[in-house]
C-alpha cells in the first residue's frame, strides 16, 4: 500500500465505486455512458495484462537462463576446488604447514630475494643407520624414516620453526 496517496489502479477503482449507484439509479444515458467507459477501461486492462504476462514470461526465461549459467559456473568452480584441494593435499606432504597455509591463503611471497635470518641448525645422525638400512625391507625403512621425520618436525614446530630442510 502506497503512502503517497497515488494509486496506480485509481481509474479502475473509481469505476467500481461508481457502478452500484449507476446501476440502481442511473438513467439509460448514464448507464450507456458508464458502460462505454467501463468497456474502454476493461479493454485497456486486458491489453495491459496480456503484455504484463508476456513480459513476466520473458523475465522468467531470462532468469532460467541465468540460473542455468550460474549452475554451470558453480559446477566448474566445484571441479576447480576439488583439483585445488587435491593439489593442496599433495603439496602438504612437501611443505611446512605454515608455508602451506600462507601459500593457499595468498599470503606467501614467492619472490626470489636475498634475506638475512637468524637460524637454528640442528644436526642429527641415526646411530648405525647404514647397517640398519641394509637389514630392512624398503617399505619398512620408509616407514621408519617417516616416523622419525614426523617426530622431528613436530618438535621443530612446537618451537615455532617454520622452515625445515633435511639432509642425510
Amino acid at each position: 500500500m502506497s503512502t503517497s496517496g497515488f494509486d496506480l489502479f485509481d481509474r479502475e477503482k473509481r469505476l467500481l465505486e461508481e457502478g452500484p449507484s449507476v446501476f440502481e439509479q442511473g438513467s439509460v444515458t448514464q448507464l450507456r455512458d458508464f458502460s462505454e467507459r467501463l468497456f474502454e477501461r476493461f479493454r485497456g486492462v486486458v491489453r495491459e495484462n496480456e503484455d504484463l504476462t508476456k513480459h513476466s514470461d520473458r523475465q522468467e526465461r531470462r532468469l532460467v537462463k541465468l540460473n542455468q549459467n550460474l549452475k554451470a559456473q558453480t559446477k566448474e568452480l566445484d571441479e576447480r576446488k576439488v583439483a585445488l584441494e587435491t593439489l593442496s593435499r599433495q603439496l602438504a606432504k612437501y611443505l611446512p604447514p605454515q608455508i602451506h597455509e600462507a601459500l593457499f591463503a595468498g599470503r606467501y611471497d614467492t619472490e626470489v630475494r636475498t634475506q638475512r635470518k637468524r637460524l637454528t641448525v640442528f644436526f642429527s645422525d641415526i646411530k648405525d643407520f647404514t647397517q640398519t638400512a641394509e637389514s630392512l625391507q624398503p617399505e619398512t625403512l620408509t616407514e621408519y624414516l617417516n616416523e622419525y621425520f614426523s617426530e622431528m618436525t613436530r618438535i621443530a614446530l612446537s618451537f615455532g620453526r617454520n622452515h625445515r630442510q633435511i639432509y642425510w
Partner: protein
C-alpha cells in the same frame, strides 16, 4: 508545469522532465519498493504537460530492467502521452535498449504495437 529531476538509485530510474526543452527521460532500472510513491511523482507531471499549452514532448526511455508494477505505471504514462497526441500535441518516443537484451527490446515492441499512433522508435544504445 515544473521541471522534475529525480536521481537514479539501485531500484529506481533517473527521471528528467525538463520544461524548456520539452523533454522527458527515464533511464535505469525500475523496481521501486513503493511503485505508487515513485511514479506518483512522475505521472502527475506528465498529466500537467498533457493539460498545458505545450505543443510537443520528446520522450526517451532507456530501461535496463522493469518489474510488473512499474510496467503498470509505464502504461499509465503512455496512456497520457497518447491522450496528448490525440489532442494535437506532437509526441516522439524513443525506446532505447542494450544490444542483445531481447526482453527490453520485445517490451519496446509491445508498447509500439499497443500505441501505434505514438510512433515509438526502437533504438540500440551503447
Amino acid at each position: 508545469m515544473n521541471d522534475l529531476i529525480i536521481e537514479s538509485t539501485d531500484r529506481t530510474p533517473a527521471i528528467r522532465f525538463i520544461r524548456h526543452t520539452l523533454s522527458f527521460e527515464i533511464e535505469g532500472e525500475s523496481y521501486p519498493e513503493d511503485v505508487a510513491a515513485f511514479y506518483g511523482q512522475v505521472i502527475p507531471a506528465i498529466e500537467q504537460w498533457q493539460q498545458s499549452e505545450a505543443t510537443s514532448l520528446k520522450v526517451c526511455i532507456n530501461l535496463i530492467y522493469i518489474n510488473s508494477s512499474s510496467m503498470k505505471a509505464l502504461y499509465r504514462i503512455f496512456d497520457v502521452l497518447d491522450q496528448g497526441r490525440a489532442s494535437g500535441k506532437q509526441v516522439s518516443v524513443i525506446w532505447g535498449y542494450v544490444e542483445d537484451d531481447d526482453v527490453m527490446q520485445e517490451l519496446g515492441e509491445d508498447f509500439r504495437d499497443r500505441f501505434p499512433e505514438l510512433a515509438v522508435e526502437l533504438k540500440v544504445t551503447d
